[in-house]
């Protein structure tokens, strides 16, 4: 009867293998130098690429990280070390709840508070949306990492007379360095493939649009838009984009777990 459990886990592993192998098989032919360096071309004209989408994705994820990483790390440290009242427990619980919010609802939120008042799509709004998605992962991972640092080290520093904030920032945080970096990597991995929040914030673009307040192309958007198109060469580009996304996300996840093996956020 225990074999049933092996079967279940085997099914999950087999599904993963099936999906990855298929994406590699269909996506690999699309990955040539043009894919990474040229702009999208009209249907039927060869030589198109997703260069603007890759740059746009990097730009949006960069902005999201700029917001989410500092806030998340600081909040995580608060929850782990400084929280003695209801705030720490509330932040912990709400972070867990926030991970389950549909990403399209968060995109809608960014649409309501940024796109509508500004009356145009922008990479800024996409960055804000993605930062909200990243935030709980960074908070929880940082909290876990800081908790694992032996308090005796901090106590020793405090006993030697240094200020409390230095004891945290200069003693405990460097010890928790690996876990904090892991949190950032996992956060980036989570949002790198998100396309629902980008639908009505970044909106996508066929051109070079690197100004943060203009509609910007992004790789997950390109995969979505091109895969439902009826043109074979566009579908091919979509597969190439899918392979790029999977490769990126897997590399980030594996690196993160190699750095910090504790299991934390779902």
């Amino acid at each position: 009867m225990l074999a049933v459990t092996w079967l279940c886990a085997g099914t999950a592993a087999a599904l993963l293998a099936f999906i990855v192998i298929y994406v590699v098989k269909r996506g690999a032919p699309a990955l040539n130098p043009q894919f990474f360096t040229s702009l999208p071309t009209p249907v039927g004209i060869t030589g198109g690429g997703v260069a603007n989408a890759i740059v746009g994705s990097i730009e949006i994820i960069g902005m999201a990280s700029l917001i989410a990483v500092p806030v998340g790390v600081m909040a995580g440290i608060y929850v782990a070390l400084l929280g003695k009242g209801w705030l720490a427990e509330a932040v912990r619980f709400l972070s867990d709840v926030l991970t389950g919010v549909p990403s399209i609802a968060i995109g809608l939120f960014a649409y309501i508070i940024i796109v509508v008042p500004q009356k145009h799509f922008s990479a800024n709004s996409a960055g804000v949306a993605l930062s909200i998605i990243m935030l709980p992962i960074i908070v929880r991972t940082t909290e876990e990492a800081v908790r694992l640092v032996n308090p005796a080290i901090r106590e020793g520093a405090l006993a030697l007379g240094i200020e409390a904030w230095k004891a945290i920032v200069l003693v405990t945080v460097p010890c928790a360095r690996a876990g904090i970096v892991t949190g950032a990597l996992l956060g980036v991995a989570r949002v790198a493939g998100e396309s629902a929040p980008l639908l009505f914030t970044a909106f996508g673009s066929q051109f070079w649009n690197i100004r943060p307040d203009s509609p910007t192309a992004a790789l997950p958007l390109v995969v979505f838009q091109y895969s439902i198109a009826p043109y074979k060469d566009w579908q091919q580009i979509a597969w190439g984009g899918a392979l790029t996304l999977i490769a990126l996300v897997f590399m980030l996840n594996i690196t993160a777990r190699a750095l910090f093996p504790a299991r934390i956020v779902r």
Partner: protein
Amino acid sequence: MSQDSVEAMGAPAVAAILRPRRQTSALGDRIVLGAFTLAAWLVLLIVVALFAALTIAAWPAIKTVGLSALHSATWDPSSGKYGLLSFIYGTLVTSAIALALAGPIGIGAALLLAEVAPRRLAGPVAMLIELLAAVPSVVFGIWGLFVLAPIMRTVVEPALSKTLGFLPLFQGYFYGVGLLTAGVLLAIMILPTVTAITRDIFEAVPRDQREAMLALGSTTWEMLTRAVIPYARSGIIGALVLALGRALGEAMAVVMVIGNKPALSLSLFSPGYTMASVLANEFTEATGQNYVAVLVGIGSLLFILSMIINVFARLLVRSVGGARQGRS
């Protein structure tokens, strides 16, 4: 000092330092530790803002269309008909299929990882399942569209139609895209969630429960099904509800395999529509104030639904977790 009292001193001891003792430390502490506190408040604020913005933004829709939208299945924005019933139905049906498929398999896999597998094997297998969770939803979508849908159309749905065709669930023509395919794809997507959380739940079950059962002479399987699972029951339900929450909100993968037809149909083969996928599909093309307002209303409904489900599920999961409050 023993290790326990040192660890117990952590947070209160640091907080005690916040009371200024020397002039030189007060300012630095206030600034830096204040910044940390501010960051925590910011997280709280974001959740409150999410709630507020989405609920307030839904108000125009409720005013113009009213709650009658929840009774009608006619979705025809160009004539001003905004019936949401087909979306709610599609969301519920696809999520139910996903949970029915992913629930047992996920619990079985979690049993393996937590109880049955040797320690050294559990790590890599858990990593594989976690990688399945990491796959972006558009990749699931494109795979579902080009691989799963044809498989459903040529192999699975004809077989179901032949064997179980007497049920209205499996009657009608099959296109490959539809409620059943979306449900299966969602099941694959939520499987890692079920496995991961259920595994934590199983590891939180006290050892005495298992050992007592084994001491009474049970087999491992009996121990698992009669001692571990009943003890972890509320946590397992919490994990399933959490996975349900994920399935409800999934937009991209579903929009690519569900057929996008706002219709109520008893047959699982028929195309359908879900709340998240109508947002993904029609939001950027919506014209007119009412249309956009109703779509925003759908988004708010989705958000509130998922918040309720998530809060409920997290509370359930924590009830079994007990001392492991810091875990997921």
